[in-house]
Symmetry: C2
Subunit: 629 residues, 2 copies
């Protein structure tokens, strides 16, 4: 039995009882599926062209020939389907790369380094064993005492020492102690490579940011600290759910789910690494170490550690700071003896991506107070200075990444990221890469809301002004909607509209973010005047119009010069840790001292959230710069 897929003209073998979703995936096509195959998100719908499918009942409204792939199963005979463009992922989405330069005050002292030792040749008068001879010299040369040797290295040692005529190149992996605070030399070290003679040439490490949506990797020359190649790719885990909650559910409820998610993360990274290695002509075994930053769930899934308790009250991670793990136990594309380190989490929803950000921005080493905000599906924020740090996370929902919005989409080709309103509600839209409009991305939504508010198309509660008499404002099947682009001008031929319920979703998202910021401030008894800088991190931040975000009440109304885009601080902090054991020790020490505020405890957050469900806010005095009618 065959499945033919249009317009790609792909044909794959199928079996009776198999799901259409798996069939499509087996052809290498990455269908959207935010619910993880539960039949609730409707994103995996495709058009059935010919053939029969057994379909389960669905709550989703579907077109005449439409089926949900995850709820459709092969019966007998061949099947042909057509996949609409908007059902696909990955096409033309530019993964944003770091743009802001942050100073790195740490010297080069990487987690792995090579040392060349010239040992005294043994004689009848100097007949200590090979291992002691090496350890004595290591201690003498670099002051390291607490060394671990694996059996493999002990077995290799006598040959290597003699082949190199008692000159040996030793690869040292620094396994700094968990307790932190120790001097570098007191840290535990494992010898993971032994080579005869003086080995020349560079050796490498990986800095990795595992985001829920994207995975980014820097390949770093550990002899110079320079990035020699960078890459970004979607996290292949997406096929199992769009956000961390759906992935945790998948990892728990599906057979082999945790392993599948782990393998997906590993494959995402390995694909990037292997591409870089082949382009740079570097051997896999010359990558000796890796530092991974990611949110708490991503780190658990990457390591294959059950994450289910992150989702269940009282929201307990299995490990905030997992121990370093040898690469051979994970299968990362690097030297199998090299260690993989993960950056420490503060809680279930403030992870290593955020502590990494605090490290990268030096928030915790400045006297002045900074607020770091990382907005994605979750909004995470840290307030503090060198004396104290307090952090929290709120669920912003998927709307800024296209979820829960009728024409929502990621920041891909054809996504509307800006609108202008002319006379008589004439609308001009700007799209990414000037492609025909397909939908609206997160920054587009904020721009639309801000513009509609200024133009009084919507009021303070986010409802359309029903007095407007224009064909663009109309009552559709899903309630009131406003047409941004007529079907004749869109990629798919449908009118691109924004629903009143879409606006409501954005208001809830921005309300959560602003509410969380307010709770943080209240907890330390401060106002925004006390904050010297607001650091916006993450891919979303790069395309965010701060003025618009203030206008709709998502970000604090402080002078714009206080705002800074700091880019992907998760990746930057991982790289700092990779190249400096002192940086790594700092982030571990800092994360132990950081306060984690769980917003689900008490009513503070709920009150602040409700107050923020207006545009910009129920309390005008918080948004004095925003003209409100």
């Amino acid at each position: 039995m065959k499945l033919s897929i249009r317009p790609d003209n792909l044909v794959v073998d199928i079996e009776k009882g198999g799901s259409l979703l798996e069939g499509v995936r087996s052809a290498g096509i990455n269908l959207a599926s935010s619910c993880g195959g539960k039949g609730t998100c409707g994103k995996c719908k495709v058009e059935l062209v010919t053939g029969n499918l057994e379909t389960k009942a669905s709550m989703k409204k579907l077109g005449a020939n439409e089926v949900l792939s995850c709820q459709s199963f092969f019966t007998d005979g061949d099947v042909t389907i057509n996949i609409p463009n908007d059902g696909r992922r990955l096409s033309g989405h530019k993964v944003l790369i770091n743009e802001i330069s942050l100073p790195n005050p740490f010297g080069l002292e990487p987690l792995f380094r090579r040392v060349v030792l010239r040992l005294p040749e043994p004689s009848l008068d100097n007949n200590i064993d090979d291992l002691s001879r090496l350890l004595v010299e290591l201690k003498r040369e670099i002051g390291i005492e607490d060394i671990y040797f694996s059996l493999e290295m002990m077995q290799k040692l006598p040959r290597v020492l003699r082949e190199g005529n008692w000159t040996v190149t030793v690869g040292l992996a620094l396994l700094s102690c968990t307790e932190g605070g120790c001097g570098i030399n007191g840290c535990r070290t494992e010898i993971i490579e032994l080579e005869p003679g003086e080995v020349q040439g560079a050796y490498y490490g990986l800095a990795v940011d595992i985001g829920t949506t994207t995975v980014k990797v820097n390949l770093v020359d550990l002899t110079t600290g320079e990035t020699v190649a960078s890459g970004g790719e979607y996290n292949l885990q997406q096929r199992y759910g769009d956000d961390v909650i759906n992935r945790i559910v998948y990892s728990t409820d599906e057979k082999d789910g945790l392993n599948r998610l782990q393998q997906a993360a590993l494959t995402s990274i390995n694909n990037l690494v292997q591409k870089m290695l082949s382009e740079q002509k570097i051997k896999e075994e010359h990558i000796y170490t890796c530092v991974v930053a990611g949110n708490t769930t991503m780190v658990h899934l990457f390591l294959g550690i059950p994450a289910n308790n992150i989702r269940l009250e009282p929201y307990i991670p299995a490990a905030s700071l997992p121990y370093p793990v040898k690469s051979r136990y994970l299968g990362l594309a690097m030297n199998p003896n090299g260690f993989i380190y993960t950056l420490p989490a503060v809680g279930s929803y403030v992870g290593g991506d955020i502590t990494s950000g605090v490290l990268a921005t030096r928030l915790s080493s400045k006297e002045r107070i900074s607020l770091l905000i990382d907005i994605g599906t979750n909004g995470e924020m840290v307030l503090g200075n060198s004396d104290w740090q307090i952090s929290c996370a709120c669920s912003a929902g998927p709307c800024f990444e296209g979820g829960g919005i009728k024409y929502g989409m990621r920041a891909m080709d054809g996504a509307i990221d800006k609108v202008d309103i002319g006379p008589d509600y004439e609308i001009t839209v700007n799209t990414i890469n000037d492609k025909k409009p397909q939908g609206i991305c997160g920054s587009g939504l904020i721009d639309i809301m801000s513009t509609f508010l200024k133009e009084e198309i919507i009021g303070r509660t986010g409802k359309f002004d029903k007095n407007i008499k224009n064909t663009r404002l109309r009552l559709g099947e899903e309630g009131w909607e406003f047409v941004l682009v007529w079907g004749k001008d869109t990629e798919h031929g449908n009118d691109i509209v924004i629903l009143e319920t879409d606006i409501d979703n954005v208001i809830r998202a921005k309300g959560a973010i602003f509410g969380a910021i307010r709770v943080l401030m209240k907890n330390v008894g401060m106002t925004f005047d006390n904050v010297s800088e607001i650091l916006i991190a993450g891919g979303f931040g790069n395309s965010l119009n701060i003025k618009d975000a203030i206008t709709i009440g998502m970000l604090p109304d402080v002078p714009l010069e206080k705002y800074r885009y700091v880019g992907n601080t998760s990746l930057k902090g991982a790289q700092m840790s990779l190249t400096s054991v002192r940086a790594f020790e700092e982030v571990k020490e800092m994360s132990k001292g950081m306060t984690y505020l769980d917003l689900s405890i008490g009513n503070d957050f709920m009150e602040e959230f409700v107050s923020a469900l207006f545009l910009p806010h129920t309390d005008f005095t918080l948004f004095k710069s925003v003209a409100v009618n």
Copy 2:
């Protein structure tokens, strides 16, 4: 093609080109082969009954139908052989078991222990991660800070904690630091087991003595420190050579030789362990740790670490104190996550069996001076007290284990261990288990020498008194010989004789031992009067007649009450270390301070050796109690 073996009536498949030695081994028969298959020792000879073999030229004189198995290869067609009884090993040899009780002053503080922890249940107000929750409690309960968790344990942790309702049984392997001298609590610990709830019942460890000839194992209940089962077996490595030098040669020169030797040692131990486990109804995974004592070569081969430099000047071991190794990397019959520790060597020829002996005898914690002597193929000795220890090793040659002596054999059934000489040179022999005489064991040789000396059958140079007119003294094919048992009374029907060259071999062996003792004494400027006790260790010691050994000048002429048999101190020290981390730390610390005297440096040993090539010695004043004509 088939090989039939008589008198066992075994039949095995063979292939053209395969060696007869391997064919016999594949039938499970352990043929003697001290040279490691080089065709020089002649011990693997068998009788060809039918069939054809391609045989290499041999220096050994063979009977009409005799062939050397190691030099004979299958050509075409079936082969039938007969293996004479004396070509086999293992039959009826009693491996000597500890007989002397040595006090163990150490408390029970084993290298592995279980701890039950009752963790506070997490809540929204107490929401630290599972790993930190466990570590905090471990630190609070037992003061251990530096813990390592493997990925496997991190993956297991969240389930175990919840299944046990926050009571958890933790298995702690103590990886004490290599540098030693640290407090117990500062030592590194790895969690190698996690089980829900409070786990009851015993858990076990192995104390192992890997001797060149025999392997001994005690199965120890770590909750009580008691030995629950003991076993001894030949070291299966013997098939690859009788002494350490032949084994090192085999490990280096033969393809896969090191691996074969390693597997042979492992199989020897595993056979013993599995037998004990099945008898005691204990599960393999409940053995959590193992301490191995062995000479330097045995430890190298056991761990698969190349040993070839032990044999080559300047005689350098790869590792005197190898790091602990997880059982899974070796395949010992125990919990795969448990650690295997080896006791420290002092040099290439003073190994962990000797430091273990120093630990077991408390030599290094007494004020008075002791001399510990362990006699086997090698003679190793340690002189010292709590302030200092000096050690050396000499090659005694294989004569005490039956090698290089025409009718030499191990202390097995039918071995002559004592002779009495009546009027007219009538000889009565005592044999082990009163079986028909087959040969002479080590203690028998010493008794014969002593008796012959007293009866003036031999003189001070070890030559027969040719004036004796008796049929027992005769000139045979291999020179002068003395008949101990006539053929009509022996198992094999041949006269059992002792050659003049046999006597010469024993003189060289005892000369080496006494010479080494003298060099030790001279090095510290002492006489035997300064020595309070002489401790005789090892299996040979148990059946040694001290008076005889003094008579022939092998052991110092001090009052007999200064001598003590201390039994298998190698095994005893291993068990002490297994049940007490303090004992293990002590032996490591002690071994670092112990002086290793290499007798091949300088002329001291050679001079002492030559002086000792008389019976008892050139210097009569050293043996005043021995009446010398």
